[in-house]
């Protein structure tokens, strides 16, 4: 192992992430989870068709929240 810079001296491990990375990553993943929770709800059965499965909340807001959450995780990693 060559070229080890001075910043990693033995017994002094510093992770590549700082506190702000952890905060943004956690926040983003919570957003993803919220998105998936919003996606849940009552379902259609073999006897009834339930138009509620396509509500704005479940087909627009929830997946968009998830997607934004997944993108923000990238920000959280690179901050």
């Amino acid at each position: 192992m060559k070229n080890i810079p001075a910043s990693i001296a033995p017994n002094d491990f510093k992770p590549c992430f700082r506190l702000r990375n952890y905060i943004v990553m956690t926040f983003s993943f919570v957003l993803v989870v919220i998105g998936f929770v919003l996606m849940c709800g009552p379902s259609c059965t073999m006897d009834t068709f339930n138009p509620e499965v396509f509500s704005i909340m479940r087909t627009v807001i929830a997946p968009t929240t998830c997607f934004v959450g997944y993108l923000l995780i990238v920000v959280g990693i690179l901050l």
């Binding site: 070229n3 033995p10 491990f13 992770p15 993803v32 259609c44 006897d47 068709f49 968009t64």
Partner: protein, 991 residues
């Protein structure tokens, strides 16, 4: 002219974004304005409404698609356009990373000291290479195709390009410990990309090589090979270890929580996810505290665990499938609403398994079920008899593993479907050998089997030659036309545009017929991009250790995304469509070398210049020479776009959109329509699901009707469509119930023609049962078959058919057939109700799929015209003929056999001139084609047998039509030609 590193990097960014802008403008200007054919309408419906498409699912693509669909606002008919635009932008993003990857790889070789800036001459070469490579890929055939439609390949390319570039970025900054973030980001991107397409995993060996070469500058051959082997193991570990391992763990949790502890469905899966998450977080915490490892060990452990965590986070997109499938949606393929079904969905078990390293050939027969009762248990939700019953899983079947009587190493000809076997024999030059094998009852018998040599010939000629290198050369040499090729001399071959070479490749280049010459997919680049790429590869390889290592890295990307896929998917012959899109990653890698070709050419010119004018030196001359080379090389992509624009410009095309709706417009209210292919199913789903068009209709794909989950969905109401009349309970058909049924056990109220059938498959039986229920109920619900289905899918009901628009209605009387027409309603459909997707717009690009559907519409016109003429209703027949010429004009859709009916009608109604022009058109095209084809050598002629027969037939019937009038002699020379061609055809047919 000097610059510092910062200025260099700023210019690098600026030029990168310039290529992005060029690519984005190209793709946004040529994007399809609504859905495209094949899987696209299904993906759009799944993205917009959060439904579940075909395995193995692409959850992150759907989430992104939904995000872009938001820009359509409330107007859902524009959602498809926005998802297409997403592809356009993602493809442009791929180009951006391609530019940066080329310049990064070059800077490493050209600039001596890593942190220096290049001098002016070096900068010109670096940026020139980036521009040429990026633009060649921007305007190349395969990549452009996926960039303008709602498919996963654009997004998947972006993920691959991003991963490769991130690794180069890491490599430059690896001295800084914070650069480890790039590795963790790569893990996250790989996790996410499993939710787009598995292709992304294939760039891992290249990634591992970059890492290894960075750590071991003087890596030797042997150790490099070991590292490559390890990287393959890494892919295998993710694909066959991490994913199934996680799923397997979730299955155990689920069984424990639901069956033993009595929780609801999916609670075990959730508990499993939380447990793994907690375990990873806890170990991270301990690592950070320095409890587990010290110093560098801690850094490695931290990065590995964090990467696993992010892989898991990326993979968590698959929660979308479980959640949405549990909502019991109308489009819910395979109903993956629990971890067991999801696992089968991810493993694409419905498509069966393909042997890879060892297995059966087409001549192999099953000796026995080797698993017999001890195969893997397959779990499903229990069929509840009462709502109050608790959730529980039960074993519904066991996986079977067959033992075959003749197996082979590296089996390439594995399918025993008759059409595949025919193709195997054709491509391998099959003669076979006789061997003695064990039979199922323990005896011995002799049979003919393919040899290992023939197996390899098939691999080389078909799988590699036809299904990979042909596509490769399409992109870097040229393409004959956009017709799907199965080895014919006149369809979809690669060519160069250089007559001498093309004569060797596809036969004589003199008097090439219009079907090739004027086809918009006819593109030639005179091999220039190929030569640049080869030069780039050679140049990079000879530039010292860094060059060699870089070349090996790009080569891994090239091989893994190309030939490795070919080996893995083990394709049988006669694919329903061209598959070049699978290998876009490989063409991406080659484009890196095309870019480097500029640097290679510059080096060559300098050498030449030095010999010619040894006294000329100095930076000024060098810059001048470099600029000149770059400008000359920029002509290569510019020449390419001149060729490829017309066959990738999908603007104004509404064909898939309108033709899908035309099927629905043909139907009465509350109808049921059976369909079987991609292009008569997915556009209909899209119309119903996304645009809410004809929600009273139920589309029933008979291929899916073989499965219990689809029968469940057909028995459920959907939108305004009541359940289909399937008279069975879930317990009758769940699992393997009613899979096969002896014909003699079936009693129906209608007399279906079973020919010599002894067994009915489940889907045929379900179709017949539905028609039977409807017949018993006094034909209370209209039921149809799509006209585009093959006769095999008609369940023996042809004699009850009546053509109505694009569908055959099943009617009570058995005196019809596919040719009989419901005149009034078909007339109304074709004259008033149907839409034509701008098929009559001059200059619009119609590819083969679009043309085939236009031909289907024209065929319906022909049937209607014939029926009207037979009734003596010449007035309406003429209206229909003129309408057909107006909406499906011959300048966009060349005349075919259906045009003969139009011609006959026009002639009998006194429109002699128009009729003659159709005859002239058909005869001259046929004459031109046949003239050319009979100049080819006999093997090539034989490969074109289908087209020869088609044109001879067209010529024959046209001349017959004309012969009914005595005074017409203007076509006499064609009669003589026809006789000549027919003799040639018969003589080669005899030999």
């Amino acid at each position: 002219m000097t610059m510092n590193r910062k200025q260099y990097e700023r210019l690098n960014d600026l030029l990168g974004w310039t290529t992005f802008a060029v690519a984005a403008c190209t793709y946004l200007a040529t994007v399809e304005p609504s859905v495209s054919f094949w899987d696209c309408p299904e993906y759009v419906a799944c993205a917009v409404k959060g439904e579940v498409g075909h395995p193995p699912g692409n959850t992150f693509f759907l989430l992104a698609g939904r995000f872009f669909a938001n820009f359509a606002g409330g107007d859902l008919s524009r959602a498809a356009l926005w998802i297409n635009r997403m592809s356009a932008l993602f493809s442009a993003g791929t180009i951006l990373f391609l530019f940066w990857s080329i310049t990064a790889l070059l800077a490493r070789i050209i600039i001596r000291n890593r942190d220096d800036a290049p001098d002016g001459a070096q900068a010109v070469t670096i940026f020139g290479s980036g521009l040429v490579g990026a633009l060649v890929y921007t305007w190349s055939d395969t990549f452009w195709f996926s960039a303008v439609e709602a498919e996963v390949y654009s997004f998947s390319s972006l993920m691959t390009a991003l991963t490769f570039w991130l690794m180069l970025k890491w490599e430059r900054r690896a001295g800084n410990p914070r650069a480890d973030r790039y590795i963790i980001l790569i893990a996250y991107v790989v996790g996410l990309s499993i939710g787009v397409h598995l292709l992304n995993l294939l760039c891992l060996p290249a990634i591992v090589l970059i890492f290894y070469f960075h750590r071991n500058k003087r890596a030797g051959m042997l150790s490099t090979l070991m590292v490559l082997l390890a990287s393959f193991l890494l892919i295998a570990a993710i694909l066959f270890g991490f994913v199934p391992g996680m799923v397997g763990l979730a299955k155990r949790f689920e069984l424990l929580m639901v069956n033993t502890l009595g929780f609801d469905y999916n609670m075990g899966t959730l508990a499993c996810f939380l447990t793994v998450l907690a375990a990873l977080l806890a170990s991270l915490f301990l690592i950070c505290r320095g409890r587990l490892f010290k110093s560098n060990g801690a850094r490695i452990a931290y990065n590995v665990v964090f990467s696993l965590l992010m892989l898991l986070a990326g993979f968590s997109t698959f929660a979308q499938i479980l959640i949405r499938s549990s909502a019991g949606l109308p489009m819910n393929e395979n109903t993956p609403d629990n971890i067991f079904a999801l696992s089968r969905y991810l493993n694409r078990e419905q498509y069966g398994s393909t042997p890879l390293l060892y297995g059966q050939t087409f001549a192999s027969e099953v000796i026995r079920d080797a698993s017999e009762g001890k195969g893997r248990e397959l779990y499903a939700k229990v069929v509840k008899t009462d709502e109050a019953e608790p959730d529980r899983y039960c074993v519904y079947d066991r996986a079977t593993e067959y033992e075959y009587d003749y197996t082979m190493l590296f089996p390439r000809m594995h399918s025993n479907l008759p059409q595949h076997v025919a193709g195997y024999k054709q491509w391998s030059g099959y003669e076979g050998e006789r061997i003695r094998v064990r039979t199922a009852d323990g005896g011995m018998k002799t049979k003919r089997v393919p040899t290992f040599g023939e197996n390899l010939i098939y691999f080389l000629r078909y799988q590699l030659g036809h299904m990979y290198w042909r596509y490769f050369f399409w992109n870097f040499c040229g393409r004959q036309n956009d017709l799907k090729g199965n080895g014919e001399a006149d369809c979809g071959n690669w060519i160069t545009g250089i007559p001498l070479i093309d004569t060797l490749l596809v036969g004589s280049q003199d008097n090439v017929p219009r079907s090739i010459r004027e086809n918009k997919g006819h593109n030639v680049y005179y091999m220039l991009p190929l030569l640049l790429g080869l030069l780039g590869l050679a140049w990079q390889y000879r530039r010292g250790r860094e060059g060699r290592q870089g070349a090996l890295t790009v080569a891994m990307l090239f091989l893994m995304t190309g030939i490795a896929i070919v080996v893995y998917i083990n394709q049988p012959p006669f694919q329903p469509r061209e598959r070049d899109y699978s290998y876009a990653g490989s063409f991406y890698a080659f484009s890196i070398w095309v870019g480097m070709g500029v640097a290679g050419l510059t080096a060559l010119l300098h050498k030449l210049f030095k010999q010619l004018l040894p006294q000329q030196k100095g930076l000024r001359t060098t810059i001048f020479l470099n600029v000149l080379t770059v400008l000359a090389c920029l002509l290569v992509p510019l020449q390419m776009v001149g060729q490829t624009w017309d066959d990738h410009d999908r603007s104004d095309r509404f064909l898939a959109h309108d033709f899908g709706q035309n099927y629905l417009r043909s139907l009465d209210p509350n109808a049921i329509i059976f369909t079987s292919g991609d292009n008569d199913t997915f556009p209909l789903w899209y119309a119903i699901e996304v645009e809410g068009f004809r929600t009273d209709v139920r589309v029933c794909n008979v291929e899916y009707l073989q499965t219990d989950w689809y029968i469940d969905q057909m028995k459920s109401p959907a939108y305004a469509s009541p359940p289909l009349p399937i008279p069975f309970d879930r317990k009758d058909y769940a699992g393997n119930g009613l899979l096969y049924l002896p014909v003699r056990n079936v009693r129906l109220s209608i007399d279906a023609n079973m020919k010599d059938k002894r067994y009915l498959l489940r889907n045929e039986f379900m179709q017949l049962a539905m028609v039977d229920s409807i017949a018993r109920a006094g034909w209370n619900r209209p039921i149809y078959f799509a006209v585009s289905m093959g006769p095999d899918s008609f369940a023996g009901l042809e004699s009850y058919f009546r053509t109505v628009g694009l569908a055959y209605q099943v009617v009570p009387s058995a005196d019809g057939g596919t040719e009989s027409v419901d005149i009034e309603r078909t007339y109304d459909c074709l004259m008033h109700r149907f839409k034509w997707g701008n098929a009559n717009k001059p200059g619009i690009y119609l590819d083969e799929t679009a043309l085939n559907l236009c031909a289907t519409h024209r065929m319906i016109f022909a049937r209607l015209i014939d029926a009207l003429m037979e009734q003596g209703d010449t007035e309406r027949a003429l209206d229909a003929a003129l309408r057909c010429l107006e909406v499906l004009p011959p300048f966009n859709i060349p005349h075919d056999a259906s045009s003969l009916s139009i011609m006959r009608c026009l002639r009998q109604c006194g429109h002699r001139e128009q009729a003659d022009s159709i005859a002239q058109e058909i005869l001259s095209q046929a004459d031109e084609y046949l003239q050319w084809v009979f100049t080819l050598d006999s093997d090539r002629q034989r490969s074109c047998t289908y087209s020869i027969r088609r044109w001879l037939g067209m010529m024959h019937y046209t001349l017959m039509e004309l012969a009914s009038e005595d005074d017409n002699h203007s076509f006499d020379n064609y009669s003589r030609q026809f006789k000549k061609y027919y003799e040639k055809y018969s003589s080669f047919n005899r030999t």
